[in-house]
Symmetry: C2
Subunit: 360 residues, 2 copies
Amino acid sequence: MKRVYNFNPGPATLPIEVLKEAQAEFLDFENSGMSITEISHRSKPYEKVHNEAKADILELMQLGDDYEVLFIQGGASLQFAMIPLNFATKENPGSYALSGTFSSNAYKEAEILGVGKIAASTKDGGFKRVPRQDELNIEKNSAYFHVCYNNTIYGTEYHYIPETGGVPLFADMSSDMLSRPVDFKKFSLIYAGVQKNLGPAGVVIVVAKKSLIEKSPENLPTMLRYDTFYKKNSLYNTPPAFSIYMVGKVVRWIKESGGLEEMAKRNSLKAKILYDAIDSSGGFYAGHAEKDSRSLMNVTFRLPNEELEKKFVAEALENNLSGVKGHRSVGGMRASIYNAMPVEGAEALAEFMKKFQKEN
Amino acid sequence: MKRVYNFNPGPATLPIEVLKEAQAEFLDFENSGMSITEISHRSKPYEKVHNEAKADILELMQLGDDYEVLFIQGGASLQFAMIPLNFATKENPGSYALSGTFSSNAYKEAEILGVGKIAASTKDGGFKRVPRQDELNIEKNSAYFHVCYNNTIYGTEYHYIPETGGVPLFADMSSDMLSRPVDFKKFSLIYAGVQKNLGPAGVVIVVAKKSLIEKSPENLPTMLRYDTFYKKNSLYNTPPAFSIYMVGKVVRWIKESGGLEEMAKRNSLKAKILYDAIDSSGGFYAGHAEKDSRSLMNVTFRLPNEELEKKFVAEALENNLSGVKGHRSVGGMRASIYNAMPVEGAEALAEFMKKFQKEN
C-alpha cells in the first residue's frame, strides 16, 4: 500500500487508524449484516453513532447542554445563506469581518438578501492578516458578527476572540475546528465543513446555542431552517450517514489522542517546523501571512519565481509530498497541516524545502 | 462476515461486489497514496470519478447532451424547495400531483412560497394508488407539473408517463431511479436521493434539460441556484465525494449487469414473487396498493392484526430478513426490493411469509 503525506487543503488527510477501522468493518457494521452505508438512519446502531458523535463534539468543546450540535449538508457555502436567512433582517443586519475568500463569500450571501454590513476588511492589504480588535466596527443593532476564524486560502488565523459588545459571535471554523482549545462559550454559533480536520466531505457541523435555533422565521423553506434540524435531532430527512460515522471516529481519535490540548501541541509543533524553514531561508521562501496572523493549519509561502514554484510542486510529489500547490488567488505554495498530518510529514516537507533551496 | 437480506427503504442494500471493491481500495485509491475520502476534489483522479458517473447516468437514461447531471446535497427534501425557488412564481406556479408523503412535502414547500397548485390528489383514498391521467388538472400557465414517480411509503408507482399539454414534467424518482427503462426524454427535470437504488446517503442526482438550468432567478442564494451547479460542473464547492464515488460504482454495476432492461427484469420478478405471496394468502396478507399502481420497489402489506405484525417483524429478523417493518403512516410491512436486492432475497421472504401464515 502506498501512502503519501497529503498537504491538500480539503478534502484532506485523515488518521490512518480511523481509515483502517472503517475499512475493516465496511461490509458488516457491528454484526448487523450490513455496511454502514446500507444501514437505516432510523435504526438503533445508526442512532448510537449519530448521538455519540454529537456528545463527543460537545465534550471536546467543553460546552454544556445549552448548545446543540447539528449535522447539515450543502457545505459551509450553504451556511453562508442559511445564517442570514435565519437571523438577519434589514433592521438587524448581519455584520461581517472580511479576512479572505470564504468570509467574503459569506458576506456576499447576506448582501444578496440585502441584510449584510461590513464591520472590517483586510482586503486592501491582500488579506495578509485578520482584522485587529480595534478595527472592528460592529454596529449595536447587528443580528450577529461573523468571522472566518481560519482563512484556508491566505493562511491566516485569529489568535484572539473578538469582543462584540453583546452582539452574538458567529464563526466559520471549517479549517481549524477542534484543532486547538478555544473558549467556545464566547461563540453563539460555530460551523465547519468537516473535510479538513474532521472527516470526508459531505456534512457540516453546526454548534449553536439552543436558544438561537429553536425557532426560525416563518415561511422559510423546511431544509433552510435551523429549527428543522434542531427539533428532529438532524434526522428530519436521511442524513449523510457515512460522513457522520467517519466524523464520529475522527472525534473519538482526537479524544483518545489527548484532546484539543494535544492537538494544539502537535499542530503548533508542525507549524513551527514549517515557519522556521521559511524564516531561516534568507528570503528564498517568503511567507504570505503577517507573523501575528499566521495560521497553524495552512502555511502559505512563495518562491523567488513561478518557474521554481512549478519545479517545487513537481519535485515535492516525487518525494511523496502531495498537494502543496497554493490557491491561484495567492499563488505559490500552501501546506495544510490539519490534525491528522503527522509531525513526520511537516519534518519531511521542511527537509525537502532545505534541500530544494540548496539545489536551486 | 454476517450478511442479511436488507429490506430497508433507504439507506438500503447495495451490491456486494461494489462494497467489496470500495473496501479493497479504501486506503489507497488508484495508487494515489490516499483514500478516496482524503483526495482533493480538484484532482484529476477525482474528476475522472465525477465525470464518468455523470456520463454513465446519461447513457443508462439514453439522454443526449441537451441534458445535464448535477450532484447536489441536502436530500430530495432540499429539492422540494429549490424547484419552486428556481422555477415557480405567483403568475406561473408549480403544479403538483399528490400521491403520498413526499409528493405532499414537495407541494408544501411551494405552498410556503405561495407558488403551488394541486393538480390531483389521491389522499382521500388513503394514497392507495397514483392519480390517473384523466384526473390531472394541470393549468396551462404552470411552470411545471411535479410527480413523485414511486411512493416509498405507500408502495405505489406510476406505470404511465403523464401527458401535461406542454407543461414541463418534473419527477422525484428517489425510489425508482434507474430501476427500469423509462422514456426519460419526456421529463424536463428528474431528481433522486441516491440512498435507495444508487449509493450511500449524501447526494441527490438531478438530471435536467440544460435550457432549464442555465440561468436562475436573480437574488437567489448561490447554493440554491441550479445554475451554480450547472456552470461549475457541480464543483462550485467541495462535493460529497465519497457518495458520488459510490454512485459511480453502482451505476457501472448496473451497466455491466445488463442495464435498465436487466434491472427491470429482476425487479419485476422480485415484485411478482412477493405480490404472488400476498395474493395467494387468502387474505392473510393484504396489499396496501391497488393492483394497477403497485410499486416494483416497495411492497406494502398488512397482517390480520398488529400483534401478528410485531411477531412477523421479529421472526423475520431471526431469519436474516431485516427492515420489513412498514412506515407508521401505513402500518404493517414494507419490503423494499431495490436494484441491489437479489432475487434470492425476495424468494426467502416469500417462503418465510408462507411459513409464518401456516404457523399463525
